[in-house]
Each structure stands twice: as structure tokens, then as C-alpha cells.
Symmetry: none
Subunit: 199 residues, 4 copies
């Protein structure tokens, strides 16, 4: 997690340039899309020369893939983090849910970036592989739930998809300008999620 913190806080001692480039690219790719963002623009935003980017990343595609993999890895780690196993599954689900929302709130741009680039044709094999691990934490959690017969008898991947789908859709709705979601609503939606899958 320390690594990504640097992405945001840029405390790296020796050379902040790599991080500056990654941050500039994250923002611009999210705002304008991959193909809509020219490399000199990334360079300018990062405060480096155009050629400098190529000292750190082999190509534009390598840059977007690094970004995708770094953030997806971080997202997976962030979500998994800190969930005690000695509490009721219902409680654990709440913690999972809160972590999901915490990520979306703390790293809004990264959240949008990951969603926007899901299955993009310029993502390489490694990115594709990580993509599919997206809700692996949810899936293994639901395997446990299934064993203890607290959730409906459905493939754990499907249970994961249901919760993940609600998560993505609700966060998207919330970040669209139309209306703001309160904490109370988030808690209610968490309850909805559980109702959806519980036995």
C-alpha cells in the first residue's frame, strides 16, 4: 500500500518523475480517454519533457498497463485488507462493503480509471488476468458463506457479480452530478445487498 500512497503523496525521495508521470496519466486518461490524450500533454501535466516518459515506460500502452496493474493490484489489496475472520459473516460483509466504498471515495479518479478501462483493447495479457481477479476477494468470501449456508445456493462468482454490480452502479450514480448519496443511503444499500444474497 505504501507504493500507491506515493502515487498520491509523491514522497518518493530520489526521483518523483515516474510518479508524476503516472499521476498525470491517471488523471488525463480518465478525463479524456486513452486515445484522446497525447503524450506531450501527459509530459506537460507531469512537468517533464516528452522524451522523459520513454525513459520510464516503453510505450504509451506500457504506461496505461502499468497504471492499470498498479491500481488494480492496489484496489484488490485495499479491499481485502483488515477483515477479521472471527466475527459473524454478516458483519464481515459489512466490512467488505465499507472497504469497497472507502476505496471509491478515497481514490475517485482511480476508481473511474479502472471502470473506464475495463476490457480496453490496449490492455495486455497481464492486465486482463488481473481484471478477472477483480472481485476475487468477494468470491472467496462467498465460498465461505456457502459452506455455512448463510447465502443462496448460487455460484460464488455470480454472488460476487451481484454485489460488485450494485457497488459499481451505485458509485457511478453517486458520482454523476444528478444526485448525492448520503451515508445513510449507503448503509441501506448495503442492507439491500445482503438481502439480495442471504438465504
Amino acid at each position: 500500500m505504501a507504493k500507491v500512497t506515493q502515487l498520491y503523496e509523491s514522497i518518493e525521495p530520489v526521483s518523483g518523475k515516474r510518479e508524476a508521470i503516472l499521476n498525470a496519466a491517471l488523471q488525463l486518461f480518465t478525463e479524456r480517454g486513452f486515445h484522446g490524450t497525447a503524450m506531450p500533454l501527459v509530459a506537460e501535466q507531469a512537468g517533464v519533457g516528452a522524451g522523459t516518459i520513454y525513459r520510464y515506460f516503453e510505450s504509451k500502452e506500457a504506461l496505461v498497463n502499468t497504471l492499470y496493474q498498479d491500481w488494480k493490484d492496489f484496489q484488490i489489496a485495499f479491499i481485502k485488507d483488515n477483515v477479521p475472520t472471527d466475527i459473524p459473516l454478516r458483519e464481515r460483509f459489512r466490512i467488505h462493503w465499507n472497504r469497497l466504498l472507502e476505496f471509491a471515495t478515497k481514490y475517485q479518479v482511480a476508481f473511474s480509471f479502472l471502470e473506464l478501462h475495463f476490457h480496453a483493447p490496449y490492455l495486455d495479457e497481464k492486465s486482463r488476468a488481473i481484471e478477472q481477479q477483480g472481485h476475487i476477494a468477494l468470491v472467496s468470501f462467498f465460498q465461505e458463506c456457502l459452506q455455512q449456508q448463510v447465502v443462496k445456493k448460487l455460484a460464488p462468482e455470480l454472488l460476487g457479480s451481484i454485489v460488485w454490480g450494485i457497488y459499481i452502479s451505485v458509485v457511478k450514480a453517486g458520482s454523476a452530478e444528478c444526485f448525492k448519496i448520503t451515508q445513510a443511503e449507503i448503509d441501506q444499500i448495503e442492507a439491500c445487498c445482503w438481502e439480495a444474497i442471504r438465504l
Copy 2:
């Protein structure tokens, strides 16, 4: 709906070219992305000259926006369609849900196209406006549900988002190569949806 039928059956008598272009673009934009698809390729696939596209569409952006708007309009109409009002809300929900899945099944490419281009930076204001009407049918349905107090007390947009999110996520999971979803599972997921939102 007649219009979209033409997109698929191409029975238009006078000039099939416009439809041919739209069909070619739909497929190519979905497979290769907007920026990854060169206009001459669209022309070739449509069996017309490169210049011909510009007799029907002002620009590449105009083409993708027309495509987006046509299909989003059609999707909205398709989903709304044929839902009787004189049956229990629970029954109506099931019909809504089935319509959603019918659309995704019948028009797989268009479904992917719409998902893929959600919030793309080259979509114009009109497309953005329609985007937000995405689950308007669901929203108004849930307004009725709320009045009759059969669903949880949440903003109808949020209820719509929850169901829509499950829908998108599950269809995506199903079209990914990893695993196939059976009709029985689809019915079970429909039940989950209802459990999520019912009072």
C-alpha cells in the same frame, strides 16, 4: 422499433447504405473501439466508398453519436414495451427483468456497444442526456412500487441503479468466457434482485 429492425434485417428499399454503415460501425466500434476503427474500414465492411459515409454522417463523432442515440432509444423503448399494468408489481418486475435479458441476448453487440461507450469523451450532449435516462423505465416503475409500499424506502433512482447494476454485471460475467449462465440461474438472480429491494 421499426427503425432498429432495419438495422438488423436491412429491408430498406431505397438506400440500404445508411443502415449498412451503421451496422458496420456498430460491430467494428464494439470489437476494436472507437479510436481503433478507421473510417475506411467501416466503409469497406459496409460495402461503400469511404466518401459515402460523409453523405450520411457529418463526421466520425456524428456517426458514433447517432449509433449511440439510436440504440439507447431503442433499448429504452424495448424495455418499456409490453408491460401490462393490471398485474401485481412483483409480476411486472419479473417481466421488466426478462425484457432486460431479452435485449442483452437478442442484441448482444448493441448491448456491448452501449456499455463500452458509456460516458465516452466523444459522446455529445444529446447522448449524455439519453445516457442518464438509461433506467428511466425502472425508475418510474419503482416510483409506483414506492407508492404502493412494496419496496424499501430509497430514492427510486437508487433502486433503479441497484437492479441495473446487477443486470449489467451479471450479463458481463455471462459473456466473459469464464462461465455460462443458465436460465435457472437467471431466474434465481431475478429473485435476488427482488429480495434486494422488496420491503
Copy 3:
């Protein structure tokens, strides 16, 4: 031979652009070298847009290779041409020699181009293959000479190399500004060549 004539006389009916590009490239690559010649310069000299070159040639390397192969093929054909077989070998040698010099005189730029690009690292396999056929006509002529025992007993390739080497070196010396070679001198050098190899 008709094909190369067009390279020079540009009588091609439909599209002179391909020929214009080849002619411009021939001259510029010879004057400034391959890497020293920017594609827009070729385009300008050819009187076409920069993008047009890529309608006819896949890449800059494809252009230089086409040029090399076309001219080397033509050179080989030109030299072989019109040598009667019913005259003494000594006479035939004179005709060969004169053809060599005719080529160098008529197609000075192409002669320089071929010499300059011999074994260049951007030549592809096909060009390399043709390269080695360079003095194939001389080699087979010397095979005949060997059978009739009118030349020294040396590998025909070596006999070919000797004559070819004199040819290249003398033409180079003649085109260098320092001094001009007269027809009389050329005839004398032809005699030298024969003395070099005769028995």
C-alpha cells in the same frame, strides 16, 4: 526494360505518382543517404502529399527496397541484353564491357544509388539475394570462357570480381570531379581487363 524506361520517361498513363515518388527517392537517397532523407522531403520533391507515399509503399524501408530491387533487376537485364553468341568470346567481352559502361553513363544516379546501398543494413532478404546476382552475367560468361580455355584458370566468380571491380572503380574515379575519362581511355581499360584475365 519498359518498366524502368517509365521510371525515367514517366509515360505511365494512369498514375505517375508512384513513379514520381520512386524518382524523387532515387535522387535524394543517392545525394543525402537513406537516413539523411526525411519522407516529407521525398514527398515534396515528388510533388505529392506526405501521406501519399504510404499508399504506394508500406514504409520507408519498403520504398528503398523496391527501388533497389527494381534498379538491380534492370541493371542485370540491361547488361545481359543483346549479346550475340555467334561471335568470338573476345568480341563478346567487349560488348559486355560496353554495356556496363552504357548503364553507368545512361543511369548515373541509379548506378551511384546501387553502389551506395550495397549491403546496407536496411535492405531486406530479397534485396540481399539480388545483390549477389550482381555480376551473374559475367560469371556465366566466364564459365564459357573457361571451357574454351581462353581465360586464366580461376574460379569464374573471381574473374567476375576482377572485371566488376575494375568497372566500379574506374566509373567512380570518372565521376569524381578530379578528372574526366575519355572514350579512348575506356577502350584502353577494356583492353587492360582482357589482359588481366586472358590466358
Copy 4:
């Protein structure tokens, strides 16, 4: 000659870096061409920093010109060297010829380098001037031959060109993979050379 020995043996005490750079450049320019060789690559091969090259050479062009002039000077000196004047001209010619071949054999890379860069557009005036002195030794030898009327009455430059052309062509043929030249053949070719020019 001592200078060039250093090029090869790198025994210079104080600063071997200049020699290391020259050696690296000689090899790389010959293998990959002038434009195909990036300066940092030269630096790496030489075991010095990229900036260090610019302490010894003003620019890439200055480097290649230094290389050209050093080696051409050395080649001229090497060829001239050690030819006694009190022996028959026919004998002296043999010695000259052997020196030529000795150079090509001992300094294969340098021989290729000189041939490859003949008349390159990035060579400066001084290099061009030396270029033309290439067979100056041969020329002055042939002036003597002409005075003693042992060779054909041709401009000494032309006589030089003939012998030089055979030399270059035969060495090239020998270093091409196609076939190897034996010492016996070399001696025979030397005889051919003399036959070519003798009265």
C-alpha cells in the same frame, strides 16, 4: 603506426577512454551503420558515460570523421611502408599488393569501415580530401612505372584505379560468406593485376 596500435592494444596509460570510444565506434559503425548506431550505445560499448564522448569529440559527426581520417591515414601509411626502391618494379608491385592484402586481413573491421563510409554525406571536407588520396601510393608508383615504360600508357590515376578496384572487389568477394579465397588464388590475382597494366 604507433597510434593505431593503440587503437588495437589500448595500452595508453593516462586516458584509454578516447581509444575505447574510437574502438567501440569503429565496430558499431561498421556493424550497424552510422545512423543506426546511437551514441549511448557507443558509450556503453566503450565502458564510459554518454557525456564523456563529448569531452573528446565535439559531435557524432566529429567522431566518425576522426575515425575515418585516422584509419585512412593509417591505411595510406601502412601500404606505403617498407617498400625498398632498389628492386625491380615488378617485385615492388608484388610487395605493394601484399601490403594491401595484409591491411585487409589484419584490420578487417577498419577495412570494412573505410569502404562502407566512402563518400558518406556526413564526411567533412578533410575526410573527402583524404579519400581521394586513397591510392596515392599506387599512383606515384605507377608514375615511376610509366617513366620506365613498363606499364601501359594510361593516366597513373587510372592505373591506380584499376588495381585498387580489383583489390576492393576481391577482398569483398572473399569476406562475403559465399566462398573463401586461398593464398594461391591471391597470388594468381596479383598476376592478373600486373597483366592488366603491364606493357
